[in-house]
């Protein structure tokens, strides 16, 4: 009964007291290791541990610490309650017993009374004890009815039978009573024993320690149950931080190694000191705290623990030690660190992304800025070219010396600005990848010569300009002559700029794949037709050599960079934008070549570029050559065509130029492909200073170059020959020209009614026949059917724009068929006659009409095969000039 009771209560008590008393309880069970060691799988028979824990300390703790005392008082209360209960029970028992005793005494008394009565009887008789014993056998037979109930009757019987058998009866009766007494005594004895036993039990249970230890054992079991596999270490350390209790599920040390020692005494390695310091700190401050400590000990390697340390106070409020709880969180920390790392990486990634976006943004901005610069440049260029052109025209009028001087300054300034703008435009074109290369046939020798002539014309120093073209260089090659001239001009002008005396030389020769057939071709011009139609690629190398100031080695790497010049001094002394070489390099690379430089300071520099060129099928050009020969009847042609050496001196030296003996003035343009014919004409026919000043103007701006006054007869003749060459012979043309009767029609391709009307009216005023079509496709059809001397082409048009139309017309002129146009989806009449009759096909001059917008830039016009452009709105003046230049038979001239 008592045990059951106690047990019930204990369970109840434990469950309710657990959280409150965990410290007190914990203290008793703890086997502390600053770092629990799961790696050691040693399974400890944990139940034994608490026995090792000293009760003395427990008492101490329970006495001194507040928590301990509260727990103790609770335990005591509990014990007292149980004791009370036990006492109550015992008392009840005692009462019971005493009642029984009382009863038995009463009985005894009764019996004694009876005895007395018998005694009296015995008194009468003698008391024959021996007899009593002796009559046992006799008595045995008699008693058949010996019940308490019967007793009365017996008594009556006795009374009745007294007489009959008194002695025997009393003997029997005495025996019986004696037996009863004996039983009673026996019972009393048993009760006494029981009482004693109870008392003994009571004594046994009376020790509070035992009771407490039982409770504690249960708490211990509970803890054990809960903490069995928990990776936690719980401990208590005293004021000196010596372990008093420790619980560790995976202990690596024995109790005696820990109890009574401090962390530092037990472990060595990283983190131990820190944990000890932390504990001390908690002890000193009296405030509980948590901390993560990474241990690096020999005993259990690198482990991270989250430790919780809580001060324990005495009743007086004095810190007497710390409770300590540690949990191993190595994996969690690892994971956390990994997460942190990931997060950091993500952050970095994001930052990088933002950075990238910023860069992209900046790049876009830059591109925009560039675009804007280009647009602006273009917008500036158009009016500026107008100014310069006008100035040029003005220079041909009668002017006095001062005026001429002023005009020349004006022209050269204008040229400078134009050059700069062109450079910027070129650069932005190349950089934005818009630059398209044109493949046209050209003659390297002529190009070199023109470039040198041009340079010589504007030469203001006593320099000799020389051109050396090796024999192996083909007479004609295919390439973008405009760009090549641009590069050459740039390099030459650069060389001239930095050379004060001596020579500037161009050497041209084949490097990798020299054409071995070259000499044969030269010998047999006429046989070329039948000879070969191969299209081989030659690599032509060009050295531009000067004897100038040279370039310091340190400046070489940045030489081709934009806006960079060899040095600040250079810029100041020689001026320039520093764009030229950058453009050259980009252009050369765009064409698949390479531009390099070698230089020695004070001795000169050599710029070298190597470019691949296709060698054209020669049949076509030979026709034209023949024509020229017929027409010119000039025996110097052959010479000049193959001539490999030119030398020019500046005009200040007297003569314009001298060549190797041939009569240069008779030289005639042979380049039917248009771009430089006017240059050549004017050079040949006009050696006036003014004209030569124009020569170094950017050649790819025909507007400037071609708007040159050309009222000299010969020039016009030549132009006529170039552009007006028809099926008829030169002679007939000449005749026609002199009569000024035949005029070739002009084709206007323009979609806008107002513009058409104005243009029509202007043409009428200029007395020029004109057909009008409204878009590129119609233009192609018109070209296919009709014979036009000039096409004025709007750039922006519906259906097909001017650029594409021009390209397709050029393709037709080149190939003799409209395949490419058909490929582009243009429906054209099958007009075989038209396709074939006009052979060789002339190149019809095509003049773009642009509205000065970037989208229809001059560059694009040229790239698509246009010859020039006039800006809108078209003025009578412009139109007239244009007709004069490209359709020289015009009456109005």
């Amino acid at each position: 009964m008592e045990d059951d009771n106690a047990e019930d209560m204990e369970v109840e008590v434990l469950s309710s007291m657990w959280p409150e008393d965990i410290d007190a309880a914990g203290k008793k069970f703890n086997v502390e290791k600053p770092g629990g060691d799961q790696d050691l799988l040693e399974d400890v028979t944990f139940i034994e541990e608490p026995t090792i824990v000293d009760f003395k300390r427990l008492l101490e703790l329970t006495n001194y610490s507040e928590k301990g005392s509260s727990q103790l008082s609770y335990l005591v209360k509990n014990w007292e309650w149980k004791q009370e209960n036990a006492v109550r029970l015992l008392r009840e028992e005692l009462e019971n017993l005493s009642k029984q005793q009382h009863e038995s005494e009463l009985k005894k008394l009764e019996i004694l009374e009876e005895h007395q009565f018998e005694d009296e009887i015995y008194g009468c008789d003698k008391r024959p004890v021996s007899i009593l014993d002796g009559v046992d056998d006799i008595f045995q037979d008699v008693p058949k009815r010996r019940n308490d109930v019967i007793i009365q009757d017996e008594r009556l019987e006795i009374d009745d039978e007294c007489d009959i058998n008194t002695v025997k009866y009393w003997k029997q009766r005495a025996l019986h009573l004696e037996k009863m007494l004996e039983a009673s005594v026996q019972r009393e004895q048993i009760l006494l024993e029981k009482l004693e036993e109870s008392i003994e039990n009571l004594e046994k249970q009376s020790s509070p320690v035992e009771e407490l230890s039982q409770i504690l054992k249960r708490a211990d079991n509970f803890l054990h149950f809960v903490l069995q596999n928990a990776p936690v270490v719980i401990g208590h350390q005293d004021k000196e931080l010596r372990y008093r209790f420790i619980y560790n599920h995976f202990p690596s040390l024995r109790e005696e190694d820990i109890i009574g020692k401090t962390d530092v005494e037990i472990f060595k390695g990283g983190g131990v000191k820190e944990s000890q310091d932390f504990k001390r700190e908690v002890l000193e401050k009296g405030v509980p705290g948590k901390r993560e400590i990474t241990f690096e000990t020999e005993l259990f390697g690198a482990k991270t623990f989250l430790i919780y340390v809580e001060p324990v106070f005495s009743k007086a409020g004095e810190a007497i030690g710390v409770n300590y709880m540690g949990m191993e969180i190595t994996d969690q920390v690892k994971r956390r660190e990994k997460m942190a790392k990931l997060r950091e990486e993500i952050a970095v990634q994001k930052a990088r992304e933002t950075e990238l976006n910023k860069t992209i943004h900046i790049t876009e901005e830059t591109m925009r800025a560039k675009q804007m610069l280009a647009t602006m440049s273009h917008e500036i260029r158009s009016p500026l070219s107008g100014v310069v052109s006008m100035a040029e025209i003005l220079s041909t009028t009668k002017l006095d010396k001062d005026q001429k001087q002023l005009l020349s300054v004006m022209l050269s300034s204008g040229d400078l600005v134009l050059q700069l703008i062109n450079d910027i435009l070129d650069l932005s074109k190349v950089e934005s990848g818009v630059m398209k290369l044109e493949a046209t046939k050209f003659r390297p020798r002529e190009v070199i010569k023109h470039v040198l002539q041009t340079a010589a014309a504007s030469l203001k120093k006593k320099l000799i300009l020389e051109g050396n073209i090796a024999d192996d260089v083909p007479i004609e090659v295919i390439g973008d002559v405009l760009r090549i001239r641009q590069i050459l001009t740039n390099l030459i002008s650069n060389a001239v700029k930095f050379t004060h005396e001596g020579k500037v030389k161009i050497n041209l020769y084949c490097t990798a794949d020299p054409c071995p057939e070259r000499s044969n071709i030269l010998l047999n011009e006429h046989e070329k037709n039948e000879a070969q139609s191969q299209e081989t690629v030659v690599w032509i190398r060009c050295d531009v050599q000067d004897t100038g100031i040279g370039i310091p080695e340190t400046a070489l790497p940045s030489l081709f960079k934009k806006y960079m010049q060899a040095g600040a001094d250079t810029a100041r002394k020689y001026g320039g934008t520093g764009l030229g070489l950058a453009i050259c390099k980009q252009l050369v690379e765009l064409m698949g070549g390479r531009l390099t430089v070698s230089s020695k300071e004070h001795q000169g520099s050599t710029f070298t570029f190597v470019l691949p060129h296709k060698v054209p099928d020669l049949s076509e050009s030979s026709d034209e050559t023949d024509e020229y020969q017929d027409m010119d009847d000039n025996e110097s042609m052959e010479d000049d065509k193959t001539c490999g050496f030119f030398q020019f001196s500046p005009r200040t030296l007297g003569s314009l130029f001298s060549s190797n003996g041939s009569r240069q003035t008779h030289e005639l343009p042979r380049n039917v492909h248009g771009f430089d014919k006017v240059d050549r004409s004017s050079i040949i026919t006009d050696q006036a200073n003014t004209d030569h000043d124009d020569q170094d103007r950017p050649f790819h701006n025909p507007c400037i170059q071609k708007n040159r006054p050309s009222d000299m007869g010969l020039t016009r003749d030549l132009m006529r020959v170039n552009s007006g060459k028809t099926s008829g012979s030169i002679f007939s043309n000449t005749l026609e020209r002199s009569k000024s009767t035949e005029r070739r029609k002009v084709l206007l391709v323009e979609d806008h009614v107002v513009n058409v009307m104005v243009a029509k009216r202007m043409m009428k005023q200029l007395n020029q026949d004109m057909d009008v079509v409204n878009n590129g496709v119609e233009a192609l059809r018109a070209v296919q059917r009709g014979d036009y001397g000039l096409i004025l082409m709007d750039v922006c048009m519906p259906v097909m724009d001017g650029l594409q139309a021009t390209r397709l017309i050029r393709s037709y002129e080149r190939t003799g068929n409209w395949d490419e146009a058909r490929l582009a989806g243009v429906e054209l009449d099958d007009h075989p006659s038209a396709d074939q009759i006009l052979e060789p096909r002339r190149r019809i001059p095509i003049i773009a009409m642009t509205a000065n917008a970037m989208s229809e830039s001059a560059e694009e016009c040229f790239a698509n095969g246009m010859d020039s452009f006039i800006t809108k709105p078209v003025t009578l003046q412009n139109l007239k000039k244009c007709l004069e230049q490209y359709l020289p038979l015009n009456n109005t001239v």
Binding site: D751, H752, V753, V754, N755, M757, V758, R761, M762, K764, Q765, C796, A851, A853, K872, P873, V874, T875, L876
Partner: protein, 152 residues
Amino acid sequence: MAAVPQLQRQFIEYTTSLYNEGYLDDQFTQLQKLQDESNPDFVVEVVSLFFEDSEKLLNNLATALQQNIVDYKQVDSHVHQFKGSSSSIGAQRVTSVCVLFRNCCEEKNLDGCLRCLQQLKHEYINVRSKLEALFRLEQQILQAGGSIPMME
């Protein structure tokens, strides 16, 4: 009849003011020069054509800019045409608004475009009324038996 010199003076003053105020530029002079006995109405014809065309273009522009998704390319091409025709007759102010308009188009700036359209309409109506006034004046001079004085 006696009003002819006065009308002629008025005509000159008015024309000059049109140039000075930037409504017209030299291109208009060009047109006038292109007019002769064989084409007595050239300027009026061209300008009428311009009016016709402009009204069409303005309508197209208004429609194009009202779309949910504005096709700036199309708008730009309209403006481009407008720019071309206006510069052809020398309607300088209209031309310069067109330039602005095209910038807005490039930026795909709808607000800007709408503003430009408004401005364009305004300038167009201005130049139209000015030119119509000029032509009326011309008519008057001719009816009065005078001849149109040449500018410059």
